[in-house]
Amino acid sequence: MSDIIRVLVAKPGLDSHDRGAKVVARAYRDAGMEVVYTGLHQTPEQVVEAAVQEDVDVVAISILSGAHDVLVPRIVNLLRERGRGDVLVLVGGVVPEEDIPALEQAGVARVFGPGSRLEEIVEFTRRCVRGQG
């Protein structure tokens, strides 16, 4: 019996397109994972409620709007409040280099900027989730 890794691909905030999120969702699916996709304009509360109900191992946050410094820590904290501090939180999208340490401080496992390879994202995710086992 091998448990299938479940990932929530989340798009909080006001981003107007979700191409990147869809590409990542597909890569996860092609790697044999189950990917819950909730669409654009989600509040942190909605993202966390979905993560709890879907009992995911990973929340992959895609964000382009520049509001990562507010939205991402809020999601991490809400996950902890709901007893799901164990969830692996990843961020992808446009995040200035200098903002990355603060996000990692807040509990993000890794920030994948533009040009990240899909194989790398999938491999990192798998290693973290399986490693926790």
Partner: protein, 333 residues
């Protein structure tokens, strides 16, 4: 098993984790379901089925919101297909459930089929039980986009809603050939589009041609909706409730419960009996013997299966007669 009191108290994280255990066939899952089973049987289950792209998720969303307005705790089980090539899945039903998804009073769980045919996931029956035990009094069960053969939903749902849309072309043929008989309520969604009248007429004609099931039998109607903006959804709600009213008369609910229990029981017997027989046959080497005879063409596969069954029965009959105390010990045969 400290999940159980938390689940019975309706806590979402506990319900979510319990569903995962059941989906993954975790060793604890059987006991979990067994202990919760006495707390089930309270919920109403509405099945939503139909071809891909007709608006099942959007209609489910609209119905969920309306039941919430009536104060009912709602559960949604939304099934999407697993890729047969990678084993992965994109579960996108939440994308169309934006109204209900914002409300913690609606517990939505997306399931992948994980290789199961029939339009549902193998875990569906147990997932419904868990939601039921967690106090979700109304459960909406949305199948994968169905063609002709995906009729399993009728075995879990008190009321099955078959959704169609104009302009489907051959898909309407599929409905006519396959899932027509399982619908208690028919909905032509996207009814503002061209061709809606024709789709409604086609479905009504099929329903008229169905054999008459007697004077007081339920007569399914065809309704129109535009789920995107909510048009016609109240009428669907009324029709579903009318169907419940019908089900509650003349002992029909008891008949339904018996049929549902038989479905689950028969499914369990099939899988358990097959598993036991195969395990025994492999352990004793009988499997390899019979297999080789099938390879040599001295037995056909059906005769081989019958032989296996006979040997299994004899082995256990003999063992039980000789020394009942050792029954079940491995390698005894």
């Amino acid at each position: 098993m400290d999940l159980i009191p938390r689940l019975l108290a309706g806590e979402s994280p506990a319900l979510a984790r319990a569903i995962t255990l059941v989906e993954n066939q975790h060793p604890d899952a059987r006991e979990l379901v067994a202990r919760l089973y006495p707390h089930t049987g309270q919920a109403r289950v509405i099945g939503i089925t139909g071809p891909p792209g007709v608006g099942k998720s959007t209609l489910t969303d609209q119905l969920a919101v309306r039941f919430r307005q009536e104060g009912m705790p709602v559960g949604v089980v939304a099934v999407d297909p697993t890729s047969p090539f990678t084993g992965g899945a994109i579960l996108g039903d939440r994308l169309r459930m934006t109204r209900a998804a914002g409300d913690p009073g609606v517990f939505i769980r997306s399931l992948a089929t994980r290789g199961q045919l029939g339009g549902l996931s193998r875990a569906t029956g147990d997932v419904i039980k868990l939601m039921d035990a967690a106090g979700r009094r109304l459960i909406l069960l949305e199948t994968v986009g169905t063609g002709q053969a995906e009729i399993d939903v009728m075995n879990y749902a008190h009321t099955t809603v078959v959704v169609a849309a104009p302009g489907l072309g051959d898909e309407i043929q599929a409905i006519k050939a396959g899932i027509m008989e399982i619908g208690d309520v028919f909905v032509v969604n996207k009814a503002d589009r061209e061709g809606a009248d024709r789709t409604v007429a086609e479905l009504e004609m099929m329903l008229d041609m169905a054999p008459d099931r007697g004077g007081d039998a339920w007569k399914p109607r065809v309704l129109r909706t535009v789920a995107r903006d909510g048009t016609g959804v109240d009428e669907v709600l009324r029709e579903v409730k009318a169907h419940w009213g019908h089900l509650e008369q003349a002992g029909r609910l008891q008949v339904w419960r018996r049929r549902q229990a038989e479905f689950e029981l028969a499914g369990m017997v099939r899988s358990l009996a097959a598993a036991r027989l195969l395990e025994w046959a492999h352990q004793t080497g009988v499997w390899a013997e019979v297999r080789d005879r099938v390879v040599e063409r001295s037995l056909d596969p059906c005769a081989g299966a019958e032989l296996l069954l006979r040997e299994y029965r004899e082995a256990f009959g003999r063992r039980a007669a000789k020394s009942p105390g050792t029954a079940g010990r491995r390698g005894e045969v």
